[in-house]
């Protein structure tokens, strides 16, 4: 098993935390992981991306040209990376902020999840990244949902541990939002 995902959004949407959380969960499951953040002159409001590779054997390249799964949290990321999704791959879109109608790809599966609406309904729009992780895991089975819940205590600084229950709820809701679309 080797699964790769490119997560992209703007700085402040929690893209890097989402990648970290996935990685911690995979490590807890005994898998090999590489987490590679875009390392540029990035800042809040600029672009933020990270690549996570999860494998039973050797991870190999932490750099991925054509990701099998792309998660985009904002429009700029779709415009920049949409064409790179591997044919047969999955594009997970934050439909609250991203319009996919202009993307001309009939060779990939596109799953739209209104992540901002879901996060806001659950009490905090900042949990958009957790909704995204939940959707990704539901669609790919890269890690188990309970592993994500227990990995939160490692991925979050201790002062934020009080938010863990809310984040778990956001992950689960993201997973539910993605699943029926997968079956349909």
């Amino acid at each position: 098993m080797r699964k790769d995902v490119l997560i992209a959004g703007f700085g402040g949407q929690g893209v890097l935390l989402a990648g970290n959380l996935l990685s911690y969960a995979a490590i807890d499951e005994g898998k090999n992981v590489s987490y590679f953040p875009a390392y540029g002159v990035e800042k809040r409001g600029g672009s933020a991306t990270c690549t996570v590779v999860i494998a039973d054997g050797a991870v190999g390249s932490p750099v991925v040209g054509q990701p099998s799964v792309l998660v985009v949290l904002n429009q700029a990321s779709l415009d920049r990376f949409g064409a790179r999704v591997r044919p047969g791959g999955i594009l997970i879109v934050n439909s609250s902020l991203v319009d996919v109608s202009a993307l001309n790809r009939d060779d990939i599966e596109i799953v739209s999840v209104p992540m901002n609406e879901i996060a806001t309904e659950l009490g905090d729009p900042r949990m958009v990244n957790m909704v995204a992780v939940g959707a990704y895991v539901a669609l790919t089975g890269a890690v188990q949902l309970p592993s994500l819940a227990s990995a939160l205590s490692q991925a979050l600084p201790e002062r934020n541990h009080r938010f863990i229950p809310a984040n778990v709820k956001a992950i689960e809701t993201g997973a539910q939002a993605a699943r029926p679309k997968k079956e349909a």
């Binding site: 992981v33 991870v59 190999g60 390249s61 750099v63 040209g65």
Partner: protein
């Protein structure tokens, strides 16, 4: 087995240094290696050590020289432009035969260049970046675990051969996070020092210096250093091979590129191409014999680097007429990091040619 941690490459190198017994660090911040001083600034004071943010890279390398002359395990780290500034000090340490570890999380150049992953400093690191025709061992990790393990190894090499040792990475290896098993420092027999300066105290005077003015003195010193390099070439080469046994084409690359090439080779194998990967772990001493053997079997080597062709020269010298050598390079800069798919395409082209 210890618990698997999830850490950045830079942090792993800093942790490896602490495990190796390094208690003194001198440095000046520069992207993309500042996690190393950041980590050590938190940890060393609590271990009875010293962390000094020097006034400059030149100050830091000379502090390393001084600490090392007292026999302490000490380290500095920087990135390419800062390493250029340190070259005078590294040359003095090589001349005075002082151990010490220098971590270089290199970036793109020349000049201020950029902060992207780069292998443009292979020549500078491997051929002796300062004056005087010296060499220092250069280790090229390609994983977070190796950032930890090879930093420990660097300290042992430094003490065994009384030489500065460089660990060469880039922002891919330094900034990515992977699982790390923080193994305890391996037991190693090291020569007693006996040369370190410790103040007067009545004992026989010891002098640590790189100035040799007596008739024949410096020539003899240079032959002595040369002899050390020959022993290193004999004993200290490290390399790794993947799928080379039956390969008709060997891809050769170090550090970050070797990781990308690993996946490209796996993809090529899935397409039925007999391709292997050869990765030098030590860049000096260069694993000439192991490469010559693998290349001789395959008959063709494709060197991949993040520059316009540097290690390829050592590959050509190693394999001689035993194999045909071709090169694919991406000079560093934003957006220039090749993907596995890109390297697979290069493999296809080179493989088709060799099959003809």
């Amino acid at each position: 087995m210890s618990k698997r941690l999830f850490v950045k490459g830079n942090e792993a190198a800093a942790m490896g240094a602490v495990e190796a017994g390094c208690r003194y660090y001198f440095g000046y911040p520069i992207t993309p290696q500042s996690d190393i001083p950041e980590y050590l600034s938190r940890v060393l004071p609590g271990l009875n050590g010293e962390f000094i943010q020097a006034e400059s890279e030149i100050g830091a390398i000379n502090m390393l020289l001084g600490a090392s002359a007292t026999g302490a395990r000490a380290m500095t780290s920087s990135s390419s432009p800062g390493i250029s500034l340190k070259q005078e000090g590294i040359s003095y340490m090589a001349g005075a035969e002082l151990p010490g570890v220098i971590i270089n999380i290199s970036r793109s150049g020349p000049g201020l260049g950029g902060i992207d992953a780069s292998q443009s400093d292979y020549f500078q690191c491997v051929k002796g970046g300062g004056h005087g025709g010296y060499h220092i061992p250069v280790l090229a990790p390609n994983s977070v675990q190796e950032m930890y393990d090879l930093t420990m190894h660097a300290f042992d090499l430094a003490d065994r051969y009384r030489t500065p040792v460089m660990l060469l990475g880039d922002s891919v290896i330094g900034q990515m996070k992977e699982a790390l098993i923080p193994n305890p420092r391996p037991a190693t027999e090291l020569p007693a020092k006996g040369w370190e300066v410790r103040g007067k105290g009545g004992a026989e005077q010891r002098v640590v210096k790189s100035l040799f003015l007596g008739d024949g003195e410096l020539e003899a010193h240079n032959w002595h250093l040369h002899a050390k390099y020959q022993v290193m070439k004999e004993k200290e080469c490290i390399s790794e091979e993947y799928e080379t046994a039956d390969a008709c084409l060997i891809v050769a690359g170090f550090g970050s590129v070797s990781r990308i090439a690993h996946t490209a080779v796996t993809m090529a194998r899935a397409e039925g191409m007999k391709v292997g990967l050869f990765r030098p772990v030590t860049l000096f001493p260069f694993p000439e014999k192991a490469l010559a053997q693998a290349a001789g079997r395959a008959g063709k080597v494709l060197v991949v680097e993040l520059n316009t062709g540097q290690m390829v020269e050592d590959v050509r010298l190693s394999v001689g007429a035993a194999a045909q050598v071709s090169f694919y390079g991406r000079p560093p800069g934003a957006g220039s990091l090749p993907s596995p798919e890109e390297l697979l395409e290069v493999i296809r082209k080179n493989y088709d040619e060799s099959a003809r």
